[in-house]
Amino acid sequence: MPADYRAPLADMQFILHELIPFSTINSLPAYQEVSDDLVNTILEEASKFAGEVLGPLNWTGDQEGCSYSEGAVKTPQGFKAAYQQYIEAGWISLAANSDFGGQGLPITLATPVNEMWHSANMAFMLCPMLTAGAIEAIEHHASSDQQALYLPPLVSGQWAGTMNLTEPSAGSDLSAVSSKAIPNGDHYLISGTKIFITYGEHDFTENIIHLVLARLPDAPPGVKGISLFIVPKFLVNTDGSLGKRNDVQCVSIEHKLGIHASPTAVMSFGETGGAIGYLVGEANRGLEYMFTMMNNARLAVGLEGVAIAERAYQQAAQYARERVQGKVPQKTDKLPILHHADVQRMLMLMKTQTEAMRALAYIAAAQSDLAQKHPDASVRDASQKRVDLLTPIVKAWSTEQAIEIASLGVQVHGGMGYIEETGAAQHLRDARITTIYEGTTGIQAGDLLGRKIVRDEGQEAKSLF
């Protein structure tokens, strides 16, 4: 049986309170009420929920996977109930804006909490993660009427959100997006096919708010002609109640290497005349709007890397303590493999690199809080530059290392690691997507070199080292 998940609270608290330290965050006017005691209470409560509710569903969810029938997707047993518990406990709205029902807590605190969810059950956590992206896009770029209508139920988790960017011919290169948006009175009619849509369809919530990239008829070619639309699964009446079913369908879900409990949908818009969509912000600025959201999504995926590495380490460490095999120099008895130098080397590579990745991800989160909430504009600006520099590193370095770490986790198990029942292989399969989605490693490396180093002649990079 796979090992239980236990949140690494000591390391999390060390990084928060001593390395960052958190006093730089709760000395900000916006966060003065966030005491160290409150931080520790939240971390302890989250660790219980992660360990007791989400963690045990990780393996069963992987084995059962999602099922598709006539446009509907059923998530694995226990997932819907866990989602209900998750939103009722208020976990989903931790860092969301209090104007829309969120708790307005710092990103620096939400980051270790999110790490726990990803460690406990990465496939489950993808739903709240994508919803957070939709919330961010609407909060920054939609009209106040759109915000009032869509944000409160998204923030509370009553509805979920998705990001519809990729098309069969538009992957890393979004200039090739070809979905259409035709003006039609106060809204647009959207048509086209979107692929790889995480939680594009599921049974967690009564409504799903799709954010969709599409082109207006007169749009210029390339990235400067892409607009962003809100396309609800069920149309929303002005009083917030649900109206008729929109012309958007999940036509299939993918069979994937990992994250089996997370439905990856092929979405078809406008098969019977056009899906009703509402323009977000100005026309032709969709990609720019997506990027404000995507930078945080990249940090979130980097954190997934930390999380899956931690889980793989815990799995390997438990096995190494239990498995008795072979003799160790200068000892007569057979001992658990933990005593072999090479097993220790592998466990230490897993442990120390995870600690290093965690520290960097939390430092980037703290800089994000400073960039948003520091009263001094020059500090906000300097912090944002630091976040911009660190984002591709947190994203690509943490996820590339996570794959190596999960692979070492399999290696520690020997032949048993190659057998699914042990649980080590799932982490390697799940980790494998993290270097691909939200911008591949190649995209991140090009971003670091071109936009973050060459563009300012290395100034920000050199200010760090």
Partner: protein, 144 residues
């Protein structure tokens, strides 16, 4: 002018390396020295990339991932080194602090096993012209 402006910035990693080198513990001094070497290597890679990116963009792009990996590796080494320094202060107050002992162990291990790879990655990056040409030559059948 550019040099002057750069000096106005606070070099955080360098500052940590200096703190570690001034520690009374030989182990922490070693971490400080190794961190300093890794920072110097990363600095060399960035200078090379800045110099080369207009002349031969393919050569610098070939090194984009090695650069990212090197940058991550050095950031990780820096933060574990800083952690070790904090842990050493905790041990001065309580010599039985097991978490602090483990943190120092983590930092020493990472320094020798992981951070030590940084200069190798820099060598890869700075060989970018040769690497780019070799890729072109060896993949010629595919490229044409």
């Amino acid at each position: 002018m550019r040099g002057k402006r750069q000096k106005a910035y606070f070099k955080e990693m360098q500052a940590s390396a200096i703190d570690l080198k001034q520690s009374s513990s030989e182990e922490l001094q070693t971490i400080g020295h190794e961190l300093e070497k890794a920072i110097a290597a990363l600095d060399q890679a960035v200078d090379w990339l800045l110099k080369m990116h207009i002349k031969n963009p393919q050569a610098t792009l070939a090194g984009a991932y090695p650069l990212l990996k090197c940058f991550g590796t050095v950031c990780g080494g820096w933060l574990l080194a800083k952690s070790a320094l904090i842990a050493s202060h905790r041990l001065q107050k309580n010599s039985g602090d097991r978490f602090a002992q483990q943190k120092i162990g983590s930092a020493i291990f990472y320094t020798h096993e992981v951070l030590a790879q940084a200069p190798g990655l820099v060598s890869t990056i700075c060989s970018g012209e040769s690497v780019a040409k070799a890729m072109n030559d060896s993949l010629a059948d595919l490229l044409n």
